[in-house]
Amino acid sequence: MKFQKPDTIISSSLHCICAGFIAGTLAGCTLVLLVMLLSAPAGATAMDDMTADDMHRIENPAAVRQGTLLFKGEQDFSVAPILKTDVQINVTGMIARAIVKQHFRNPDTTWKEGVYVFPLPEDAAVDHLRMHIGQRVIEGQIQERQQARKAYEQARSEGKKASLIEQERPNIFTTSVANVGPHEEIVIEIEYQHVVQYDTGSFRLRFPMVVAPRYIPGRPVAPKEITVNTFEGTGWAIDTDQVRDASRITPPVLHPDQGKINPVNIEVHLDTGFSLQHITSSYHNIDIKQESETGYRLTLENNTHADRDFELVWKPEPDKQPRAAFFSEHKNGKQYGLIMMLPPEQTRGEVLNREVIFVIDTSGSMSGTSIMQAKAGLELALAELKPGDRFNIIQFNSYTELLFQVPQPVTHQSLRQAKNYVRNLQAQGGTEMATALQAALKQTSEHTGVRQVIFLTDGSIGNEDALFRIIRQQLGNSRLFTVGIGSAPNSHFMSRAAEFGQGTYTYIGKVEEVQEKMQILFDKLQHPVLTDIRTTWGDDLAVEAWPQKIPDLYLGEPLLISLEAEALPENLHISGMVSNSDWHSAMKLQGGKEQTGISVLWARKKIAALMDQLNSRTEQDEVRRMIIDTAMAHHLVSKFTSLVAIDVTPARVREEILKSQSMPVNLPAGWEYEKVFGQLPQTATDAELYLIRGMLLLITGLLLAVFSRRYTRRYAFTV
């Protein structure tokens, strides 16, 4: 071996390092040029055989850049009243009457007002409010919304204990309770009633527990733009031009790190009137006790917090399956009725040459368990496609993106592309649903057959009415099927969107349910639909029945009609169309079971129908008046009527200050806080780290080179 001087070794190694550094930098720059000039975008290269042209992004800049989660200032929850909820639900046959007790306890030494935004089933008819102060009970009165608020605000400033129940959406209500004294507890008792859902042989009772954070599209409106009739809410969002009451439907959300709040107890007394095959709670552990042949008492396990929907499902014995039911009530000189009828099952008809548009919500609120459920559901639906069908996938968050420019025929190739696309979906960003809905309903091919839009979302948006308008105006010959995803879906959006879309809605609350629930949906999609349903009562009787336009019925769905009449009709004739042929049926309305609350259900149905007309009809004031009249007559909370309860004696002297607190809520189970509320952007790269690491490696190389030379040299001398 040739002898080398140490400095030569070092200099040659230095050369080596310099060369390495230059080579690295050059490699990096070359890579930049290569990537920028030759390759496709990173998102697309990740997919096996997808080119950039395969995906089509629709941008709606005006909408996209404005809507997001716009915050108001920070709040201190440490001194807000502490909440606990007790729920008792009595189910008789198909009707559920529930009492919800909200306990507001003031942990502080100052006087408090608590404002709590909470959910109820979307068809809940709220007809009672009772305020419990110690042993005393004050019954709430129904008043027009502005009037009730004025009365409440006056009582609040006079130091009287007062409470107010307002409706923000059919499934979102606000309880306000004023002048809760230091370390005092006030209990607000709310009573409501609704019809248990009966579908595909099972009965379902849903009790939502938390209003999920809603995405608020639109530009903020300055406070001066708000008319005197509105009043600012206490939520985290700012009112926008698209969601005028955003601040009223966005209760502050506690960060999950701070633990769960709002414990809930639920007790259900179930008397179905028929023997049951099984009874299950879908998402909670419950304790079941059989009290009689058809009666059960169910209680929720302790330590449950309000962070997801509660659902109870029961299934009658196969031969006890009710096919028709009639309930009646005589009230204030009028007769009320509720009719349920299950049309005979049609034989499965293979639906051929469908065009199926899948729409999947990939916004931040879907992040976590929801997107997994949605992806699993979508994958099953893709597997159901038949040769001859055409399909497309649309995802939306802040943007809307189409997998294919136009729906593609089902082939191995297109299905594989679709599966890859679904697998790579990620949930983040806003929920600009309108553009996605428009893209889904838009006819892009000359397809004339059945067109089905399957819409998977949690519906966490605040602009429901605007979306319903799009569905009504642009539906064409498409049918919209909503699939509600996650632990706390927006049930009002799911059910109404499906109704306007002449389809059905399905809920998936956990991954284990995906298979079963999607199968029910597939069965509905492949059986003939009963359409153009009309009712006649005979004998020229004056019958006011709701809904006036009966929605199409899919497999396993019952017909539900509420009616009011001077005298109950004896017969009901129903006609409709199924598979292009006429269908007739008749039902005797005698010997109906007398039950209280049937009138309330009728009034609630009527209000729901009138609320729809508010959006479409020109005589808005007249419709509004009708809603108020109906609500007042039946003591019901509506968008325009509220329940207010006021104590007569002032409790707080004027000198003492009253502090208003909005009650925080939990983040729904399975959600990711940061994906919804965001965080300050991550603004650093690892460039420095890479450079230092690279230098260290090269220096280690240098040392090694020097060391090994020395070693070799010494070795050479000894030889």
């Binding site: 690295g24 990096g28 720059c29 300050l680 650093a684 790269t685 450079l691 090269l698 090994s708």
Partner: protein
């Protein structure tokens, strides 16, 4: 032969060290090169934007577009700001946060940038420094820095809509940290100097 064997090991080790060193330095300089090159490409897109074209994509597959230009005369700094502050757009330039006031619009305009590339200059800014923002209509809006502070990433109220015309610049802190992903942010708030004419 022990000597040959040892030599072989040393040689292999050297090759591995050299290659991984080259790879690491390559990756590091790739990030910087991308940041510099993108701003050059963005200049063209920006001049197109100023001519009245909307949402000019700087390269065909870009998912972002330039929305305004920031200049700091004292430091001779000029940066073209992109729409959106996602990781992919921040690699090419500072990003304007969706949902914050658009450039030239009333409210709080929030722009984020990488502390080691485009927004490295933030550490040299001082209260009272002038910043100019050129909107896509070509209007220059002058701002003056009123506040500089270090905050935690959870303090999202700095993104809030507020009732004033301000510009909020965000980058990660500390500037010389080696690893990305720290929880601290460096925030520069500048107030608009005169009501703009639009």
């Amino acid at each position: 032969m022990p000597l040959r064997f040892k030599k072989l090991i040393v040689f292999c080790l050297l090759v591995v060290l050299l290659l991984s060193g080259v790879w690491q330095i390559g990756t590091g300089s790739y990030i910087h090169a991308k940041a510099i090159l993108a701003q050059i490409l963005l200049e063209t897109a920006w001049s197109e934007t100023l001519k009245g074209h909307k949402e000019v994509k700087p390269w065909p597959w870009a998912d972002t577009w330039p929305v305004c230009r920031l200049t700091v005369p004292r430091l001779g700094i000029s940066r073209i700001v992109l729409a959106g502050a996602s990781g992919s757009s921040l690699a090419f330039g500072p990003g304007h946060l969706f949902g914050s006031a658009a450039s030239g619009e009333y409210g709080n305009t929030v722009i984020a940038g990488h502390r080691d590339t485009h927004f490295k200059f933030l550490q040299e800014l001082k209260t009272g420094d002038a910043i100019e923002m050129q909107t896509s209509q070509g209007i220059n809006i002058p701002y003056r820095i009123s506040e500089i502070r270090v905050i935690h990433e959870s303090e999202t109220h700095y993104l809030d809509r507020i009732d004033a015309n301000i510009l909020t610049l965000i980058t990660c802190y500390p500037f010389n940290a080696i690893r990305a992903g720290g929880p601290m942010r460096y925030i520069v708030i500048a107030k608009q100097l005169q009501p703009k004419i639009i």
